[in-house]
Symmetry: C2
Subunit: 215 residues, 2 copies
């Protein structure tokens, strides 16, 4: 399944390069799709598997670096830049913005393959992480408005009593919301809920004082 389990996108305006790369990748048992322009790549229907984008800096429509910035807004595969006329500021910018590598032609097959492997591995990681967080985010969306108010109070460490007071409702009602939150978020314990909330970047709104007014 080496072939189906990931894919390499090639964006280069030079037909010969596209073919050469395609063949090279095929010889390594990798599936590849080549595009002649940034626009073709962006508008194409791309399979949803771990991938790597081999991107030429000089393209007919827009600059490769600009394309990088454009797609940076959403999800996109790690980029390996290739270029015939690279300069240092471009390479710095590319790497700073997350590119896996920046290769100048002529580059060795070894270097390219290493970069691709790294990119695929990275994408696999990122996808896995994204998938996890997406599940959480979906659960969070299943919460009712009130439950979304209760969650931050609970993970702040407030007692039910305190959280209830904060919302101006009875402790009983808050307990019910709290339990619903635990169920809907599929948290096995409060500790778990706290970690889920962290990953969802739910802010801590209040923090319980150890020695309060009571007792």
């Amino acid at each position: 399944m080496t072939t189906d389990d990931h894919i390499i996108f090639i964006v280069d305006d030079d037909e010969r390069i596209r073919e050469a790369l395609s063949e090279l990748l095929a010889s390594h048992g990798m599936r590849a799709i080549a595009f002649g322009s940034a626009g073709d790549y962006v508008s194409a229907d791309k399979p949803d598997v771990p991938a790597c984008l081999i991107l030429d800096v000089e393209l007919p429509d827009i600059n490769g670096l600009d394309l990088q910035r454009q797609i940076a807004a959403g999800e996109h595969p790690p980029i390996v830049f290739i270029t015939g006329h690279g300069d240092i500021p471009s390479s710095v910018r590319a790497i700073k913005h997350g590119a896996v590598d920046f290769l100048t032609k002529p580059f060795s097959n070894t270097d390219l393959m290493a970069a691709i492997e790294a990119a695929i591995a990275q994408d696999r990681e990122e996808r896995s992480e994204r998938a996890d967080v997406d599940v959480l985010r979906q659960r969070y969306l299943d919460l009712t408005p009130r439950e979304r108010e209760v969650l931050p109070l609970v993970v702040s460490g407030l007692l039910n009593k305190q959280a209830a007071a904060e919302l101006g409702i009875s402790e009983v009602t808050l307990e019910i919301h709290r339990r619903n939150v635990m169920h809907k978020m599929a948290a096995a314990s409060l500790a778990d809920l706290v970690r889920l909330a962290e990953r969802l970047e739910i802010p801590i709104t209040h923090s319980r004082r150890t020695g309060g007014s009571g007792a």
Copy 2:
């Protein structure tokens, strides 16, 4: 206090460059210390304030990039590389390893100053973060061996009863350890303790199952 609140280290074997940079920085109200070699920099006594390291790639003793890798093991200020004969692979490697920028001579004062500002700001961030975590780490070191065994079980979400069973001790004893942990770690609540443990990268050893064998 612009002068004392941060410092710039310059490492370049060219005396003229060192002087020119020192003057430039002085004119911007920044304190700078210059070194003629990597060895001088490493062995020097450096003030403990937010800093930036302006590092020439070509040095008499060791390569700037190698120095970067060497000091990467410990704490060190963000690096801004400068070079007269830079190449793309070097710049890629430098940035990948965390350098703030990689400037080729001649570079504009504006570019350099921007890089330095960014580096200082970054160091300020990192130092603040490190200081926070150091406090936590110190508290963790104050824990007794047994308490260090209890902590991961507690933040895993185990009930006292379960954690006690895990350690083969009575629930009462575990409660005492647990309370001591809370006190020593200065955690205001369990939620707090979970977050502290996260920052200390304390692994979750067990995770409580919602509907267990009990009841």
